[in-house]
């Protein structure tokens, strides 16, 4: 494949050898890509001085099919997000978002997924403390839906019978969503969600961002999402950045 240019944002960056960096980029056209930015720590000509975590811009990639590590030929930084480092809650939430995006394995043309991530980071950059959890959890639920494994909320995840609107429901991660009363008896691990939680999930998956009433509600949604992702991610590794955010240890 020839040299391509695509919108991209930096999900993870770490130093490689004396002068280079390896980056994980979310791109609009080519999913999540690992790239080598040769000389990025030394030269500012090709990559600018702000090729940092959560920076956004236009990446020039030398994409070779089958390679795990592609070559970054240039990166025009258009937006950086220093606001994410001005609050530990925002910083850890952005890291958790980035970790989940990398683990959700987006390999192809995914413009909607790219915009979900971009807008979530924009929102987090200036988010008040009580908006950090709904913004992050909401973006991840929307992303989960966009990638095709949104939880069933309107009908039973097991028998597909319509569920009564405006009511709470048992929720099974293994089954993939809410259950009717009959199927719930055969799913002993199901967690009972109150009506407000079901509505919040529906709103988030649809791309809307309702707020949450209390800290307890926020913690419950963080836990629910972690359990759901843990059930559906391809590998069994834990989510360490998510755990740091959820436990709020650095705030």
């Amino acid at each position: 494949m020839p040299l391509v240019a695509t919108d991209a944002l930096v999900l993870h960056a770490f130093d490689y050898l004396e002068t280079s960096r390896i980056l994980r980029l979310a791109t609009r056209e080519f999913g999540v890509q690992s790239v080598l930015a040769r000389g990025a720590r030394r030269s500012s000509q090709r990559f600018g001085t702000a090729l940092d975590l959560f920076a956004e811009g236009v990446a020039q990639l030398d994409l070779r099919p089958g390679r795990e590590l592609q070559t970054l030929s240039g990166f025009e930084v258009l937006r950086v997000r220093p606001g994410l480092a001005s609050d530990m809650g925002r910083f850890t939430a952005a890291a958790a978002l980035s970790e989940c995006v990398q683990r959700l394995v987006i390999e192809e043309h995914a413009p909607v997924a790219f915009d979900i991530i971009r807008l979530a980071l924009d929102g987090l950059t200036e988010a008040a403390a009580d908006r950090v959890v709904p913004l992050t959890v909401g973006a991840l639920w929307e992303l989960v839906g966009e990638l095709g494994f949104a939880p069933a909320l309107e009908s039973c995840a097991s028998c597909h019978e319509a569920l009564p609107a405006g009511e709470g429901a048992p929720f099974s991660h293994a089954a993939g969503g809410a259950l009717c009363a009959r199927c719930a008896t055969r799913a002993p691990g199901a967690r009972r969600l109150p009506a407000a939680a079901v509505v919040a999930l529906q709103e988030w998956v649809a791309g809307r961002r309702p707020g949450l009433v209390s800290d307890a509600e926020a913690r419950a949604h963080q836990r629910l999402l972690r359990e759901f992702l843990g059930e559906h991610l391809l590998d069994a590794r834990g989510l360490q950045a998510y755990a740091t955010w959820e436990q709020g240890r650095w705030s």
Partner: protein, 195 residues
């Protein structure tokens, strides 16, 4: 595995050295006088056996205290916090700073699983009253993770009543404004000062 393969494998683990270069270095060492290769081997053994971290600032040293911490002419009330020992050499080259240092051993990174307990933040907090420190300069890198680390340390230091400052960011000396990127110019404008 033969001695040649063994050394090639070990050399290839070094940064910037691939398998082919490692092989060339191995054959070069075999060609040169044996004494020269023995001196290299001895230097490596000595390095590993004698270099450790300073008990006060975590800089690299061969003595319990590094040369900066044991220098009575340095101002012990002024402490510059850096991510790695290599950063000390960079600041020392500037020749402007006469205080002492504290090496964190990295920066906070949730994505890499590096938290406060993995850094020497606890030792820094203990140094403040012990060394009667009056100012802490946070010289972590101006990256997002470096900024978050500085913020975290600033919050931890706040109850101790010590002055906390952050190194400035902006245009490089001798640089050309026309070729500076927008992010750097924006930060230079934010950090402008009266003349």
């Amino acid at each position: 595995m033969s001695a040649i393969d063994d050394l090639t494998t070990e050399l290839a683990r070094l940064p910037g050295i691939g398998r082919k270069t490692a092989q060339r270095l191995t054959y070069h060492l075999l060609k040169q006088p044996a004494d020269q290769s023995r001196r290299l081997a001895q230097a490596l053994v000595t390095l590993v056996d004698t270099v450790r971290t300073c008990t006060r600032c975590f800089n690299l040293t061969e003595a319990p205290l590094c040369s900066i911490c044991s220098d009575g002419r340095r101002d012990g009330t002024l402490v510059c916090v850096v991510e790695d020992a290599a950063d000390i050499a960079a600041i020392e080259r500037a020749g402007e700073f006469r205080g002492r240092y504290h090496v964190l051993g990295g920066r906070l990174s949730p994505l890499d699983g590096v938290g406060p307990d993995d850094l020497t933040i606890g030792a820094l907090l203990a140094r403040i009253p012990e060394d009667e420190v009056t100012e802490v300069i946070l010289a972590t890198n101006p990256s997002l993770e470096g900024e978050a680390t500085a913020l975290y340390i600033q919050r931890q230091l706040a109850p101790l009543g010590v002055r906390v400052t952050r190194i400035a960011r902006g245009l490089p000396v001798g640089g050309d404004l026309e070729y500076a990127d927008g992010v750097t110019i924006a930060q230079a404008l934010q950090a402008r000062r009266d003349m």
